[in-house]
Point group: C2
Chain length 342, copies 2
DNA sequence: TTGAAAGCGCTAACAG
DNA sequence: CTGTTAGCGCTTTCAA
């Protein structure tokens, strides 16, 4: 015989499985006579019974599992941004008694067949983390799919649409605008933007915000000062070479769209013997790195990724547990962390 | 009505649910007449049916889920070592069609009630990652619990016992011994060991290996040259202060037991204006950091954490899928990566 | 060959 | 108040 079940206990005691279930789960409620209860508990102990959570979940229609979908080609845990978000999610799940089911992107060519994921009923809901492989179009598609599948979900990052969904993000336009204010106040007039890919919602917001911020001060963001590296190191170097070849017309300050771009920029400066901030000022939009051992310490607008994960999980679980709960949208504030680069 | 089920389709078509199940899952086998099959497929499509994985798992007694247990107080994803291990696990799971269930440590005071986890039948097996909160005693206890609960599992790190289990790790004694060889060859005679906690299996192996390695060259590892910081920055600084106060008797080389200790050592050197390797040589046992932007580049024995995760998952899935599969133990080789610190 | 009945282990809704 | 019957949605057996 395999692991003991409720009815194994029931037989031994001479009652029905249901009675055992009640005695074991419903605590001290007087649903089962005290003596029956005692005998059940005793036998359960003897057999070292432990419930089959799967059967439980099927009967209760509730798994206490939250699914995680992160569209990425590479293993997701390498990415510090995601790691921090996951930590936040995890901390909330822990507190509220849920576990995390990390869906592996299935299918060939790195693109996953997400429909199955949404619809497979292992989880009570899904947290969807948009990454740099998500364009505005795919984000909308994702939302449509999730809603069509009637899956409860909350989304992190990169959604600037108007659909009423659970969402946690930052206002990238505001970040870039603040960056413009900051740099202009420091006397910069030629400011460039080193970014990843022009299809990214974050990129578009940042450009918008930076442009508006500069205009406020009577400046402009010329097209040639927007550089998209496609997250390729050589791509970033090519852009920087172009900018620095402008001699006296080169940018005096660069805004880096994220951590990776910042590192590429540092590498470039290292290679070309460019000093920061003597030769060029650098301002970064980045997330909190626990082990911030990069030098020079970057002046940055920091995105609270840990908190984003926490809140996304809270929103989702509220939706799961509270019947008529309305979806909520949270825009988190960013923080200026002064370093030595601007 | 909620999401469509097998019997919804069955009713519409006028057959039994079982027939639908067969038609949908068993492909072209001639279990269902071709025309019935066509009608079933058509209706399933219309209702945009998708199977309830939970019910499926209950019936099949198999979830294609692998559980992950990492005993840690802090959120696990912050830790680069764990992140890399997870990435490795994830890559194997992806390839073999499994998903990852990350168990949140439950219970108060950070210590979790693991029995429930092992026995809850959500997963087909468990990967247990030992961390620096695991002593030799708790590791043994873990193994005992897992075996008692008849849970299939594989373990990563820190097990130096003899029980036949799925295990992936490195030979820490060999690493320390190689470190001794390396440093002695460079002319060092006073070598100190900066470690975390003396209860850790890894610590004990490293001390053993270092000691033997030094003895081979007619040297010794004096007790006062073994420093345990308890992973506390101040603790590490105190140890280093003590060593450096020895003046001409101070160590000329330090072996750091892991990444964090290395960083504390770097911070200390920074603070006290000590140059590496001019004033003291440094050798580290560490894992592959994807973003290795720390300077100076450390001379290190590198542990292949990604691969450890991959292999642990392979072992587990083999055990799950192959009935009489014997447990296997894998000791991975480490690699010397030359930096500028020794 | 094709279909329906009998569970997987549990809990929510019932009847005594 | 106490304890049982009737499913949750699926698959594997077994009878036709």
């Amino acid at each position: 015989m395999g692991t003991p079940t409720l009815s194994d206990i029931a037989k031994r005691v001479g009652v029905s499985a249901a009675a055992v279930s009640i005695a074991l789960n419903k605590g001290e409620t007087n649903r089962v006579s005290a003596k029956t209860r005692q005998r059940i508990l005793k036998v359960a102990e003897e057999l070292s019974y432990s419930p089959n959570e799967l059967a439980k979940a099927l009967a209760e229609k509730r798994t206490r599992l939250v699914g995680l979908v992160v569209p990425m080609r590479d293993p997701i845990f390498f990415n510090l941004f995601i790691a921090q978000t996951l930590s936040g999610i995890q901390s909330t799940l822990m507190r509220r008694g849920y576990n995390l089911l990390v869906y592996s992107p299935a299918g060939k060519n790195g693109v996953m067949k997400r429909d199955k994921i949404y619809e497979s009923k292992y989880t009570d809901g899904i947290i969807f983390v948009n990454t740099r492989s998500c364009s505005a179009a795919t984000v909308n598609e994702t939302i449509r799919d999730l809603q069509a599948a009637k899956v409860k979900f909350s989304m992190i990052n990169s959604y600037y649409g108007r659909a009423p969904i659970n969402y946690v993000g930052v206002d990238d336009a505001a970040i870039a605008s603040a960056a413009a204010d900051y740099l202009v106040a420091k006397g910069h007039r030629r400011i460039a933007f080193l970014s990843g890919a022009h299809t990214l919602p974050a990129h578009m917001q940042l450009v918008k915000g930076l442009d508006r911020g500069l205009q406020k001060h009577g400046l402009t963001l010329p097209q040639e000062f927007i550089g998209c590296s496609e997250y390729d190191r050589d791509g970033a170097f090519a852009i920087l070479d172009r900018w620095f070849s402008l001699k006296s017309h080169r940018p005096t300050a660069i805004l880096a769209a994220d951590d990776q771009l910042l590192l590429h920029l540092y590498d470039y400066a290292d290679l070309r013997k460019i000093s920061i901030p003597e030769d060029v000022s650098v301002l970064a939009r980045r997330n909190i790195g626990i082990e911030d051992h990069i030098r020079p310490r970057p002046t940055s607008f920091v995105i609270p990724t840990f908190q984003m994960g926490q809140l996304a999980a809270e929103l989702l679980i509220d939706t799961i547990e509270t019947p008529g709960c309305e979806p909520r949208r949270i825009t988190l504030p960013f923080e200026l962390v002064e370093g030595t680069t601007a």
